[in-house]
């Protein structure tokens, strides 16, 4: 008789349960935090649109068509055309790719590097803290636009350079906020106790500090995501971001869009709406995610 022991069965059951638990968590999230779920859904749609832009866009976003300059939204062009006869919808779709690239790139790199520096600074304290703080202070003193101006003037206008220009000012901001959160943990008695007990740095950081900075980190991240998209549009508005003829939301808001704001409002309305929607979605999602992941709440 082959009796299957619970141990043999255990792995299979564990997997199934994990998957089921995962789905349950998602459904639960959607039900309990509707706003956040909506935000997440919008972000997902944007991601899909950005990835499959080539398939979804009805026209080539760079195709100039002088015969169709400034046409109203209609059958041929659902969202109208811009001053060069380029289809607004197609440019919007390709623009989401640029926005997500710049947004995610800058935000993730900025927030993560900042968090690493902030936690390290808080945990090690002393001289490490001192020097890192000074370094962060120095870069914090440069307003985002000025640093971007300088970087773009030196490096040029490509997308990686724009991402770098937006990321660099974000790192110290993230570091500062994460550090202040991490500091409150640092002073807690259980950290000293853990050190006394001989636990290594890494373990203490990972087990005690990180879980408590996750919440501000996620908030920073979603704030940065939207800030990066907004920063890109501001930089493009000033002529320092992505350049023509690339399709990018911020770029679509510049120049002709402002000139024609009354005569052809669709040129600026839709990219502006797209930016606002993206920012909204990221923030709603981030908020709800934070609420869901709050370690203290989990015990309730």
């Amino acid at each position: 008789m082959a009796i299957t022991t619970p141990i043999d069965q255990a792995p299979a059951t564990k997997e199934r349960t994990a998957a089921a638990a995962g789905w349950a968590a998602v459904r639960d999230f959607a039900r309990r935090r509707t706003l956040g779920a909506i935000g997440a859904a919008v972000v997902l749609v944007m991601l899909v649109v950005g990835v499959f832009a080539g398939v979804l866009a009805p026209y080539d976003p760079l195709a100039v068509d002088f015969g169709a300059m400034l046409t109203k939204p209609g059958a041929a062009h659902w969202l109208g055309t811009d001053a060069f006869g380029r289809d607004v919808l197609s440019r919007l779709i390709y623009g989401s790719r640029t926005a997500l690239l710049v947004g995610f790139g800058a935000a993730v790199i900025g927030a993560t590097l900042g968090a690493v520096l902030g936690v390290g600074s808080a945990y090690f304290g002393g001289r490490v803290d001192l020097y890192l703080q000074r370094l962060m202070d120095i870069f914090l003193s440069f307003p985002l636009i000025i640093l971007a101006l300088a970087l773009v003037a030196i490096l040029g206008n490509s997308i990686p350079n724009v991402i770098m220009a937006i990321t660099i000012p974000m790192i110290p901001r993230a570091a500062l906020v994460i550090r202040s959160s991490a500091l409150t943990i640092r002073e807690m008695p259980y950290v000293d106790a853990a050190r006394a007990a001989g636990f290594g740095h890494a373990r203490i950081i990972l087990r005690h500090m990180l879980p408590n900075v996750v919440a501000p980190y996620l908030i920073m991240l979603t704030a940065f995501l939207s800030q990066a998209i907004l920063a890109e549009s501001s930089l493009s508005f000033l002529g320092l971001g992505v350049q023509e003829p690339t399709a990018a939301w911020g770029l679509m808001l510049r120049g002709a869009a402002v000139d024609f704001a009354e005569a052809a409002p669709w040129m600026a309305l839709f990219p502006g709406f797209a930016i606002s929607l993206a920012v909204f979605a990221f923030n709603l999602f981030g908020d709800s995610l934070r609420d869901a992941l709050d370690p203290k709440l989990r015990t309730l």
Partner: protein, 535 residues
């Protein structure tokens, strides 16, 4: 016969096309000027210093020119901006051999501090411009190389002696930058005028608040009795053009002397209706494409010609003029001015023909011959300025796509642009040609081989010779022929550069402003002595 009708028609079209004004013609005869009122205008940029001899930006001219007089100036009622009339000079004679220019000065003209203006002031000012002492900047002295000496034989006579005859000298002397300063002040300190204002002009300096505004008030002792009509003026510095439009729309300012884009004009017209007068003119500014003659394949003139043939200039003129500040299809002189080539002749140049399909077929053939493969890719460097650089670049890339070229635009920040051109760090790049007075000598000097501004590094003795000849030509018709030959060589035979479209100057201003006539240059006609306001 058909040819002749075509010529007349073309001439008419050129006149209408080039120099349209909507609204009442501001001729002195039509309405009687009214005295009084303050002119409020906006200026997009602020003057770095107050000395026009040492500056090169319109931010100096717009607020400060009303305080000064010139020896001769451009007729403020002439739309082409090419007719010299006397300002401080009452009359002048030119010797038969063209080497001596003698000016009779007006008497009793006073500086704003009460002292009288005499020939020594004119001489001192021109000595500063043409023969600046060490440590003193004079940005335009190169264009006065023909002048040997400036003399002041008696208090009301000034004489210029030339080394060789030069037909452009009179117009060159009417340069808006040649303000007449006071000799005594220059003798004490050559740099005094960089930070102070003291002239003989129609307005007296009141105040300059940095970053904010400039105020001038009427000069009661101006030599032209009865003028200026205005009690004063106020120039507000506003860098954002949206803010400038809002200011005019909100009736806080009456005019901006540089120019607005077509949609901005349309906005103002639809918002203010007949409270707005629009004056338009071709602008003495143009974007052209510069190709590096030492980089393959642009060292081959077939490739350069092909790039010009690919452009449908006439379609662009129609379409781009709706969205940005370009309009006329032009040659090397502003349409409507004395040396401009008539449109019918222009059509004979490469890229100016009406049959675009034939042109593009020819372009493709030339590229094949030159060994340029289909889908060939190169980078086009553009200057980071929205009007009209961006739209023209987008148009160019699209046109070149139609002959099988795959062009990438790289935008360089505006202030880093000229270092890039000077270094020769480009294959194909956008350049611009802007003048303050329409004169072949001034507009064409940069295409001479040894010119500092010859960024494409072309070497062409024929152009050098033609330039010299036309500068020395005394007969107007001879000169026209030489200028045309230069144009043909530059744009057609060698296609050293590719002309795009002439900029188009659009000034929508309050209908209350009278007595100001638009010219192709935004440096001209800014003394404001002829300007008046209705009720």
């Amino acid at each position: 016969m058909r040819h002749r009708r075509g010529w007349i028609l073309s001439a008419l079209v050129a006149m209408v096309f080039g120099l349209t004004t909507t609204g009442p013609v501001p001729a002195a005869a039509q309405e009687k000027p009214r005295s009084g009122g303050t002119l409020d205008f906006v200026v997009p940029s602020e003057p770095p210093s107050y000395d026009a001899h040492a500056e090169e930006t319109f931010g100096v001219i717009h607020p400060i020119a009303p305080h000064y007089s010139l020896l001769v100036r451009v007729d403020p009622f002439d739309k082409t901006g090419t007719k010299p009339v006397g300002d401080l000079a009452e009359s002048w004679t030119i010797s038969k051999d063209g080497l001596v220019y003698t000016f009779k000065l007006r008497q009793g003209v006073k500086f704003h501090d009460g002292s009288e203006m005499t020939s020594k002031d004119v001489k001192a000012s021109y000595d500063k411009i043409i023969f600046p002492p060490a440590g003193v900047k004079s940005l335009r002295k190169e264009s006065y190389r023909s002048v040997e000496v400036v003399e002041a034989p008696d208090p009301y006579t000034v004489r210029f002696r030339l080394k060789y005859p030069e037909s452009s000298l009179l117009l060159n002397l009417a340069s808006p930058w040649n303000w007449i300063y006071k000799a005594d002040l220059l003798a004490k300190d050559m740099h005094w005028y960089e930070t102070h204002v003291m002239g003989t002009g129609p307005f007296i300096f009141v105040e300059h608040v940095k970053g904010s505004h400039w105020v001038g008030k009427k000069n009661p002792n101006y030599w032209d009795k009865g003028k200026p009509y205005l009690d004063g003026f106020r120039a507000t510095f506003m860098s954002s053009s949206a803010a400038q439009v809002a200011a005019i729309r909100g009736e806080r300012a009456q005019i901006q002397f540089r120019g607005f884009s077509p949609p901005e004009r349309d906005q103002l017209v639809s918002a203010l209706g007949n409270k707005i007068t629009v004056q338009e003119s071709p602008w003495d500014c143009l974007n052209f494409v510069s190709m590096h003659h030492e980089k393959k394949p642009f060292d081959d003139k077939r490739v350069r010609r092909a790039l010009s043939l690919a452009l449908d200039r006439y379609e662009a003129s129609q379409k781009l003029s709706k969205i940005t500040i370009v309009k006329d299809v032009s040659g090397i002189q502003v349409p409507g001015t004395p040396y401009a080539t008539p449109p019918a002749e222009l059509e004979k140049l490469a890229g100016y023909g009406r049959d675009i399909n034939a042109n593009r077929a020819e372009a493709k053939r030339l590229l094949r011959e030159a060994g340029v493969p289909d889908g060939f890719s190169f980078t086009f460097k553009n200057r980071g300025i929205p009007h009209p650089y961006e739209p023209i670049a987008i148009w160019l890339v699209d046109q070149w796509r139609q002959i099988g070229l795959n062009v990438k635009i790289e935008t360089i920040e505006a202030s880093a642009y000229h270092p890039m051109l000077k270094r020769g760090d480009f294959e194909v790049a956008m350049d611009f040609q802007c003048g303050f007075i329409v004169e072949p000598d001034l507009d064409l000097v940069r295409f001479v081989t040894m010119s500092d501004a010859n960024y494409g590094r072309h070497k062409d003795k024929v152009i050098d010779e033609l330039y010299q000849k036309q500068a020395r030509a005394v007969d107007v018709e001879d000169r026209k022929k030489l200028v045309r030959a230069l144009e043909k060589r530059l744009l057609d035979e060698e296609a050293h550069v590719i002309w795009t479209l002439q900029w188009h100057r659009i000034i929508p201003h309050s209908a209350r402003v009278k007595g100001w006539t638009i010219t192709p240059s935004h440096y001209l006609n800014n003394q404001l002595d002829t300007v008046w306001l209705t009720e």
